[in-house]
């Protein structure tokens, strides 16, 4: 195909030619091109296939509103699915492919979808593909749906987030925005101006307008210098405002470098979170197409886009053009085409009496003007070759053309305004929605406010800038607004809305999701008349372009079909983001190791040196087991567990929560917070407690020490420390502020190491302990303070394993030294470091339940053998809920132990989560396994489970359903090992 690049002009850099590839063919372009303009210059007419029907599509627009040219940008780990060709800056050796087609956009096997078109209108999937089984169709639908493909490699680039505060944020650096920013900045206000493109000025950069006697481009340069001279002004280009949130918070996406290459410090994109005192929205307006049969053929383009390709990229989109319009603005495109040596065959104007001032100059140049006429069809395989026109006398004829430039009017870009909560009104004279009522401290100016002429936009922007500066305390002196002398007419659009052309054939409204007027009519017939229902039923406006070229046309069509006014029909909601955002930009630096902070034990280094295998438990990296050479994880676990039962184990229990609760009312407070009584605990003693929420559900358990009359050390489950400290604080601040209590979390300040086993006492003696640790002097569930291995420590006799245990707490920085010395001291007695795996096995065989593992969001004290808390006379959190009907049911899930029936040996464990069934039960499941392991001490499997009415069914045999098969188990009281607890009395 012959190229259509003009010999001169445009903002492209002709000294830097670039080559690129599209759908496997090589082409040439220039620096400054977008992929779209380069494709157009090379005469590539078909750039994609439509989503549903696989119709060939060409470029329609020049900017973010482009609905057809979604491509797959192929760049290794930077491969991007579905960027629009109009937004991709051309770079050397760029590789792109059209999406949703195979093998190429021009020749697509998927076009067969067009043959079954009548069976797949809007909403077809609500009515078909269900019998005999919808799952038969799912794989085909999955393959057919979707457009580009994401890469499966991690994003190699760096992304940043920045927070900024300013007095005035101006969004958009077109004429109105530049005027506003320049005006606001003069008094010294802190101004941020953000602009989506690389250049400032919008269309002024290439449009040949005149402002106050100088060219638009020169005016833009002057404004840029004004802004650069202000220390408190920041100008961000290639920065799109993508969202407007509460209280004037906006998100801006800055494209810093497209291809950081190997520069590790380069940032690819930067997400700005800006809080502004005043916001000025100068986001311009987007042209909307006309709706007529054949309007999606490659070669049909927006009139303003044709002009932008001419002026900005020096590309003429066709040789023989027809224009179809319902307003004055499109005539400028005709003039521009003629100036670029194109031929304008005719202007089809749906208005019966377009002004002679507009039509005269073009008629004089030999352009046929057809008033009161409409386009009713197009022809071409696949690119446009002819346009069918029906004139005011109903005469129809074909006009030869390879370009049909259409204009149906303009839509102010009010997306951010709507996101801010503002309300729109319908401007009947200009046939557009524009801002009417602001809800936040924000103003729209220029085309974004429906002010479509250049002089008015400049004035609008400047006034808003001055006002914003004043309101934020940085007043400026007013100056004479520049007079824009738009080379085109300054008057109104003179638009006469034409929502659809009445003629046979398929007319598309949403190009990206393939929604036609027939689909809208179908939705209306089926009573989906609310725009919100229409949108979801037809999927109009739900594609990546979010209806930028289709929403308003759809509202016009629906209004006509239902006999309502545009105001009555209304718009759907506009949501963040305005344009698609890469996940990397939203993640910023929060990825990899920085995604979620991981905590380490104070003694991490010694565990690591001992070869521990770490896993994450409640946000803390802890040793799961310490394998010897050649050991499997299971073997290590068994060895460590056996060591605890036979001699002595050393376990790092530092993440166990430690919260000091202090004050004259500390005891009374804990009585309200715990299900059991704490105020009667004596100084020097320890007591296990259960905490409930107001629903009576167990939220934590732990051992509390009484340090003095008004000082308690509350213990919590590892991982719950922060949550419980916050819980205590909440009740004190909100419900019982009169109680004199202070809560101080100490968990990370102290390390806790547990020596546990029949030889624990002798090991501790050998390590050196100033406390009398004989059984009579230091009974179970008490604590003492003293010096252990030359370190001041608090020692508590609290056991999670069922063996004699000494939990030794020291300042965290002493952990490493103490661990080493305890290991040395215990060596002659066979001491082993113990990981979490073995620890959990030991507590399982003792029947000690683990909150959140054996209990869930419904478990009450009575379900785990703690029904006696109901005997208390005083109130506590959750007390009232324990006597609700649901808590008094006799078939509640209750904690039980499970004994193997058929002698499970070796690895034949009961899987956690396995459901338990019984032959006589009416339920599908009688409960499930919550904890499970193999006890080397008892040489059998051990398990805990939650079983309906379990306590009444001791001795009953159930069947556990496991992937390996059915396993028979007998319900037992929980606590298989040493049920009388005599090993603790030693």
């Amino acid at each position: 195909m012959s190229g259509r690049r003009l010999a001169s002009g445009g903002l492209i850099d002709r000294t830097r030619p670039l080559s690129f590839s599209f759908d496997g063919r090589r082409y040439n372009g220039f620096a400054g091109d977008t992929l779209a303009s380069a494709l157009l210059a090379n005469g590539v007419a078909v750039v994609g296939r439509s989503f549903k029907y696989h119709r060939p599509r060409g470029l329609m627009a020049a900017g973010v509103e482009e609905p057809n040219a979604l491509v797959q940008l192929i760049d290794g780990a930077r491969t991007a699915p579905n960027p629009r060709a109009t937004e991709i800056e051309l770079y050397p050796d760029l590789i792109a492919r059209a999406v949703n087609c195979w093998p190429s956009a021009r020749h697509d096997l998927g076009a067969v979808a067009g043959l079954v078109k009548r069976f797949i209108p809007a909403g077809f999937y609500y009515k078909t593909l269900m019998w005999p089984d919808w799952r038969w169709f799912e794989p085909f639908i999955r393959r057919a749906a979707g457009l580009g493909k994401p890469t499966d490699q991690p994003d190699p680039d760096r992304y940043e987030t920045r927070f900024a505060h300013c007095d005035v944020l101006v969004v958009g650096a077109g004429p109105a925005g530049l005027a506003a920013a320049a005006a606001a900045s003069r008094g010294g206000a802190r101004v941020i101006l953000c602009e989506q493109e690389r250049h400032l000025g919008g269309r002024l950069a290439w449009d040949q307008a005149e402002i106050g006697g100088e060219s638009g481009a020169v005016w833009v340069r002057r404004m840029a210098q004004t802004l650069a001279a202000q220390a408190e002004t920041t100008v961000l280009t290639r920065t799109t405002a993508i969202g407007y949130f509460d209280h004037n918070a906006l998100a801006l996406l800055e494209l810093v470098t497209d291809r950081p290459d190997d520069d590790q410090s380069a940032v690819r994109q930067r997400l700005w979170q800006v809080r502004a005192k005043r916001v000025i929205l100068a986001t311009g307006a987007l042209e909307r197409p006309l709706v007529f049969p054949g309007n999606d053929r490659p070669g049909v383009m927006l009139a303003s886009a044709v002009r932008e390709y001419l002026g900005r990229f020096a590309v003429r989109a066709g040789d023989e053009a027809v224009l179809f319009t319902n307003n004055d603005a499109a005539y400028a495109t005709a003039s521009a085409l003629l100036k670029a040596a194109g031929r304008v065959v005719a202007i089809v104007d749906s208005r019966r009496h377009p002004s002679k001032q507009i039509t005269g100059p073009l008629e004089a140049k030999g352009v046929a003007i057809l008033p009161g006429a409409v386009v009713i069809a197009t022809r071409g395989h696949p690119e446009l070759t002819a346009v069918k026109v029906r004139d005011s006398s109903e005469v129809e004829r074909w006009l030869t053309a390879d370009l049909l430039a259409v204009s149906g009017g303009f839509n102010p870009t009010i997306h951010l305004f709507r996101q801010s909560g503002g309300r729109l009104c319908w401007d009947d004279a200009q046939a557009l929605f524009k801002p009417a009522v602001s809800v936040q401290a924000e103003t729209s100016v220029g085309a974004a406010a429906g002010v479509l002429t250049l002089s008015a936009a400049l004035r609008d922007g400047q006034e808003a800038g001055v006002r914003a500066a004043e309101q934020t305390g940085w007043p400026v002196a007013e100056s004479e607004p520049p007079r824009g002398a738009d080379k085109r007419r300054e008057d109104s659009l003179a638009i006469e809305p034409l929502w659809r052309v009445a003629a046979p054939g398929e007319a598309f409204v949403d190009f990206q999701n393939d929604v036609s007027t027939d689909d809208i009519a179908l939705a209306v017939r089926e009573n989906f008349v609310s725009v919100e229902h229409l949108k979801r039923y037809t999927t109009l406006g739900m594609a990546p372009d979010q209806g930028k070229t289709s929403n308003v046309n759809a509202i016009g069509v629906v209004a006509e079909l239902t006999g309502r006014s545009i105001e009555e029909t209304g718009t759907t909601l506009y949501r963040f983001p305005f344009t698609p955002v890469a996940f990397g930009a939203l993640a910023g630096r929060n990825r990899g190791e920085l995604f979620r902070p991981v905590r380490r034990l104070p003694a991490h280094a010694v565990h690591d040196a001992a070869g521990a295998v770490f896993e994450e438990y409640g946000g803390v990296m802890r040793p799961a087991y310490y394998p010897r050479a050649g050991e499997t994880p299971h073997q290590a676990e068994q060895r460590e567990a056996r060591a605890v039962r036979e001699c002595v184990g050393l376990f790092d229990a530092s993440p166990l929560g430690k919260i000091e609760v202090v004050g004259p009312d500390a005891g009374a407070f804990l009585d309200r917070v715990y299900a059991n009584t704490m105020s009667t605990l004596k100084v020097g003693k320890a007591r296990y407690g259960l905490m409930l929420n107001e629903l009576g559900v167990i939220i934590d358990d732990g051992v509390t020490l009484r340090l003095s009359q008004d000082r308690f050390l509350v213990g919590t489950t590892s991982g719950a420390a922060a949550r419980i400290a916050a819980w205590l604080d909440e009740w004190l601040q909100c419900e019982w502020p009169h109680l004199q209590v202070l809560v101080a979390p100490l968990t990370s300040a102290l390390a806790t190491l547990a020596l546990t086993g029949p030889r624990a006492r002798t090991a501790l003696e050998r390590a050196g302990c100033s406390i009398d640790i004989s059984a009579d002097a230091f009974p179970h569930m008490s604590w003492r303070e003293g010096v252990v291995a030359a370190v001041p420590a608090r020692v508590a006799r609290v056991s999670f394993t069922g063996e004699v245990s000494f939990e030794i707490s020291v300042p965290a920085r002493q952990a490493t030294g103490l661990w080493t010395r305890l290991l040395q001291a215990g060596e002659p007695f066979g001491v082993e470091p113990v990981g979490v795996d073995a620890w959990m096995l030991l507590r399982t065989e003792k029947g000690y339940f683990h909150v959140g593992v054996d209990t869930d969001g419904t478990t009450a004290p009575g379900d785990v053998g703690w029904g006696h808390v109901l005997r208390r006379k005083t109130d506590f959190i959750g007390r009232r809920s324990l006597t609700r009907p649901t808590n008094l049911r006799d078939d509640r899930l209750q904690l039980v132990g499970l004994d193997p029936v058929d002698g499970i040996a070796g690895q034949g464990f009961l899987p956690i989560g396995a459901h338990l069934c019984s032959a006589g039960s009416t339920r599908a499941s009688d409960g499930y396994v919550t904890s499970s392991g193999f006890s080397p001490t008892m040489n059998r499997a051990v398990a805990l489970a939650m079983v309906h009415a379990g306590e009444r069914r001791i001795g009953e045999i159930l069947t556990a359903l496991a992937p390996a098969g059915r396993i028979r188990v007998r319900i037992a009281k929980f606590g298989a090992f040493d049920p009388s607890g005599e090993r603790l009395d030693g």
């Binding site: 927070f163 509460d246 809080r275 309300r423 105001e567 209304g570 107001e694 419900e735 007390r879 609700r884």
Partner: protein, 102 residues
């Protein structure tokens, strides 16, 4: 992103705070004289106003104090911030946004 004025620290970004449900809930007492209905209402039933809502917030990444906000659920405008335990300021009325399409 709400801008929340903590009564103790001043205006801070929403990201520093945690929402805590509605304010001024009365915990029914004494526990042995509360009916299932009243207790159930306290546990599960909440007002859902279109307009001014008084709600609890915690300055989680700041002073860690709980306080109350009076906020419009329609416009998200914050009408008042007051300390936990204080009564809501009198005469809180959200100014209606007049005109325009919904």
């Amino acid at each position: 992103m709400l801008l929340i004025a903590c009564p103790w620290c001043g205006p801070r970004d929403e990201i520093e705070f945690q929402h805590g449900g509605p304010s001024h809930l009365q915990r029914p007492e004494p526990f042995d004289a509360v009916s299932d209905e009243i207790w159930g209402e306290y546990l599960f039933f909440r007002d859902n106003p279109k307009g001014v809502q008084k709600e609890r917030w915690l300055h989680a990444y700041g002073c860690r104090r709980w306080f109350n906000l009076a906020r419009s659920t329609v416009t998200h405008e914050v009408l008042a911030a007051y300390r936990m335990g204080d009564p809501a300021p009198a005469g809180l009325l959200e100014p209606p946004a007049t005109g325009g399409l919904a």
